[in-house]
Symmetry: C2
């Protein structure tokens, strides 16, 4: 591998400039028109301007209103949000922690999620503040953001069973919603996809095609998401009256190697006991399964069926294209913000928890069982 250098090159139109002839120097905040300018321009008091702008029913005469609006237009006025926020003691910001995606890992759905979240937040008059936190202790960052009044609320994702952030926010009585569940004894607002339903759909589909020897690659037992998906696998088998073969559940970590290991493990079973179909707790593991299976001479989509989970980008371009389970990310974002809006408005919430059904995306990695 060629060494990575970070060389700095003077590019053509790039000259060393002092700041006084530098094109991107701010007049930041300076000389923006204020409400006073509008008032002067319109020949009214600042209160009148404020009333007009906030559509208050202070009984402003229509002609005055027009004058004010005209003055606003002329001076190009827009209310300063910082001042507004100070007055209202709010920030208009919703905090969302952005997680590092290590090189070589996949950000399953979080980039799309962020987009729809931001969009929904903006529709409600909020903006998203994305922040990071050290791997060690996230809580302190959340705490600082609260104590300094930086944000009005949080959206969490990537939650764990006893997520300390959730514990903390519940204790602080600070507004938040979560994409993902946590300790079932904790009462807080969350939205999630029904991993059990998703996996049930996947396994039902395999059973419908005639598979009986269906195996699953699962996560360690402490993973909430993993156990939900596993439950769907078990449900589907039970529904179909297929007895569970204990060796058909293989647990491993979130990496490609787990997929390899699972296939190697099952290849040690007698040939007529080896699974004809494999479902996996996430796409990355499915790719590991496929790679190792093909190395062993199996043909995925023909002599072996594989289903992933999450519909990570690019999986549709694998050959065979991966059959997988997709979460309704835009809807989840919208739902979270809708709940948050109610919370922030101190309105009663009809439902504090919402589960969305994921959908099975059928592509080419599944076929009927080989005879």
């Amino acid at each position: 591998m060629i060494e990575r250098r970070s060389l700095r090159v003077d590019f053509d139109p790039c000259v060393r400039l002092m700041y006084d002839d530098c094109a991107c120097i701010p007049l930041a905040g300076t000389e923006m028109p204020t409400i006073k300018d509008v008032a002067r321009e319109a020949g009214v008091s600042i209160a009148t301007v404020s009333y007009v702008l906030n559509n208050k029913d202070a009984g402003i005469r229509d002609s005055t209103r027009q004058q004010v609006l005209e003055a606003v237009r002329r001076v190009g006025y827009a209310p300063n949000v910082t001042a507004r926020n100070l007055k209202a003691s709010r920030s208009g910001l919703i905090g969302y922690a952005w997680h590092e995606v290590p090189l070589g890992q996949v950000n399953s759905v979080l980039d799309r999620f962020t987009y729809y979240l931001a969009q929904a937040a903006e529709a409600s008059g909020y903006h998203m503040l994305t922040f990071t936190h050290p791997p060690g202790d996230p809580v302190e960052v959340y705490s600082d953001l609260i104590r300094t009044g930086r944000v009005d609320a949080f959206v969490l994702s990537d939650t764990n069973t006893d997520d300390p952030r959730i514990r903390f926010l519940i204790d602080q009585d600070f507004p938040f919603v979560s994409f993902g569940r946590a300790n079932p004894n904790w009462d807080f607002c969350w939205v999630d996809t029904d991993g059990t339903a998703g996996m049930r759909q996947a396994v039902d589909y395999l059973i419908e095609l005639g598979h009986r020897r269906i195996a699953m690659v699962a996560w360690p037992e402490n993973s909430l998401v993993g156990e939900n998906r596993l439950a769907g696998y078990l449900d589907a088998l039970e529904n179909a009256g297929i007895p569970l073969h204990p060796a058909y559940i293989f647990r491993g970590e979130y990496d490609i190697q787990t997929g390899h290991d699972a296939v190697i493990y099952w290849s040690q079973l007698p040939p007529d006991e080896r699974p004809t179909a494999i479902v996996t707790v996430t796409d990355l593991i499915a790719i590991g399964v496929i790679n190792e299976a093909e190395r062993q001479g199996l043909v995925v989509g023909d002599t072996l069926s594989v289903i992933g989970y999450d519909d990570v980008p690019l999986t549709q371009y694998l050959r065979p294209a991966l059959t997988t389970v997709q979460q309704p990310i835009p809807e989840i974002g919208r739902q979270l913000i809708q709940m948050l809006e109610m919370i922030l408005a101190r309105e009663p919430l009809a439902q504090r928890n919402v589960l969305f059904a994921p959908s099975l995306i059928i592509r080419d990695s599944v076929g009927p069982p080989p005879r």
Copy 2:
């Protein structure tokens, strides 16, 4: 495909609650300790507290300082950022537009970029405000954010040649930096990766292995990024004294189909004229190339070599694992924020433009030319 339903299920610990017994109701902003509380607690004036907190050399007696700090600790005080910002007429926020990633497309590097950007911004005392904009006219959103004082600066990415956002921000004289170049006649601060150098590395490597018939899938001529990368391809050929075969440049859009089309196009050449190696302007197209090539019976990494660009997640798990060019994303994020910090501090900037060299990641999709 199974229909997507969005069912809402009452989960076990989820009861319909009115807000007065709802666990996540805010006391938002209410009863946070203010500087007054600290002053009262410490028995000093609020000015003194402010001096201590801001490390001002107003000659505060050491004993007073200790009293204040103790009081701060006792009441759990943290300065309200909104008030601070109002006073300083700034927002402490850097705006970054988050782009929608259509289902089935790949967010090449922007999710990692966002993370490192946020991290660097925080190290400089800023936070990132991520916003979205309608596909149509981005400028209005930028304008609103400026006029309302929502942000102190912007970071742009995904720039085009005559990017209207850049034109607008230059005209407004508003602080921003850009990940990516634009119209070369415009003078503004940007950081980019040297696509020419990256592609040159890729092609040099192929030449070193003995390839002479090297083709490239490029973007339309109006793409700045595409033309930079293409220039690297041309450079490398020229350096090696390999005459350019005009049919070896195939231009297409940003989709998988372009890769298919290119291979089909070249397969119509006489066998001894067909390229033995193909470089592509981006990984997604490389995947299209690989899929179509293998469909035609070629063996990638053996009878055909392929190199992508961007090192999109998962490409390392393709078989053959994709050889590609990687951008130093964390460094780019840091560099951008460092420049922005200077701009905002109104300090002179030694270099307004920085190019980083990307690195060739050698994996399995390349081999020596077949004989």
